[in-house]
Symmetry: C2
Subunit: 222 residues, 2 copies
């Protein structure tokens, strides 16, 4: 399968790119608004993987070209760029493409991080509204520490929660998630349930801040 | 220490009462608006504990009398009764009493359960507003399955998240939580961070519904 990480030069994109390239045989494509940046980062990831004995090709493209080549397109961009990014790649998507939304709206103050949903109710819902009607959207990978994901020396032993209204698309993303070593995919229901999933992200940041030794903490349901 | 569980005849109250009475030497008091119901339930808990070789006294009182006797008062009532319950016991509380809020506002529809915060921002904040100014409030025990808590045959191996603005009160509740076997207390910061903690409750209900074998699921941060 071909996975395009739009905003794949950023922190969560880097982590997912490295994990998929290292743990699976899926083809990873890095997307960016700046194709040169995408290529540079893709080469960096190749070098990092090669240093670990994993010889794979990671290519970099401008976002729309990356999306055009992919079966699964991950919107690894900040929440305020999700709408624009979907618009920029919309005509490269079709009913066979699965769009994945990992972004979370947050606001920080002196007390901590707080969940800040867009007017659509969640970033996943925002992505679903922005996407062409026939393109299935799945929310996933919200609550993973980017640093922990990007450090291949660290065993994850974590869950990621999936929300989506299209069972086949959710199943595809579930399999991609579970293909990452130490990551378990759980179903949290339809996109209407996304805000409770997304709001775990500020929560884990607050827990990391207030408890010794819990840097880069993630979540497990048991 | 004396712990009063107001609404201790209900499901989360029962679970906490049984766990504290079984696992610790703290004195557990059951409160209810109906003192007769409180006494009947307290006797049921005593019988249950006795059947497991734990001979302890559990007393039942009307809520205000229960609160009057306690060092820690747990508002184990539905979210829409939190304000009334605090009002009913307010003159029995003082700066030495710690008020604990485990309730969560939720609304269910065909998609699942959704977090529904009161206008105060969270039920914990609502409890803090309702409480006399000098009475410290700590949010805790929100995300625990009542059935799992009440079944002493089940090992918990779970976390509970604490929010509070008074470090000493939070420390007291943290120790009470950690005294329950298999329960770890984590600090999620001040009461301003309560909504992210409370919204894990609808999330775990949605996860239980959508994943086989995850009935009564709880959460662990790692």
């Amino acid at each position: 399968m071909r996975i395009a990480l739009l905003g794949g030069t950023g922190d969560i994109g880097q982590g997912l790119a490295l994990r998929w390239a290292y743990d699976t045989d899926h083809e990873v494509i890095i997307g960016s608004r700046d194709p040169e940046k995408a290529r540079t980062k893709a080469e960096e990831y190749e070098t990092e993987l090669d240093s670990r004995g994993r010889e794979v090709t990671v290519k970099g493209f401008e976002n729309a070209m990356a999306a055009d080549r992919a079966d699964v397109v991950v919107l690894a961009v900040p929440p305020y760029h999700v709408g624009d990014t979907v618009d920029a790649v919309a005509d490269k998507l079709d009913s066979e493409t699965v769009l994945v939304s990992p972004a979370v709206g947050m606001k920080g103050d002196e007390d901590g991080m707080h969940y800040h949903a867009p007017s659509a109710g969640s970033v996943t819902a925002l992505a679903a509204r922005a996407a062409p009607d026939d393109v299935p959207v799945v929310g996933a990978f919200h609550n993973l520490s980017a640093d922990r994901l990007a450090n291949l020396d660290v065993e994850l032993d974590l869950d990621t929660l999936l929300v989506g209204d299209d069972p086949d698309a959710k199943d595809t993303v579930s399999q991609l998630a579970a293909a990452i070593e130490g990551l378990r995919a759980l179903d949290a229901g339809p996109i209407a349930n996304a805000s409770e999933v997304e709001s775990v992200t500020p929560l884990v940041i607050n827990i990391a801040r207030h408890n010794d030794g819990m840097h880069d903490v993630g979540v497990k349901f048991q």
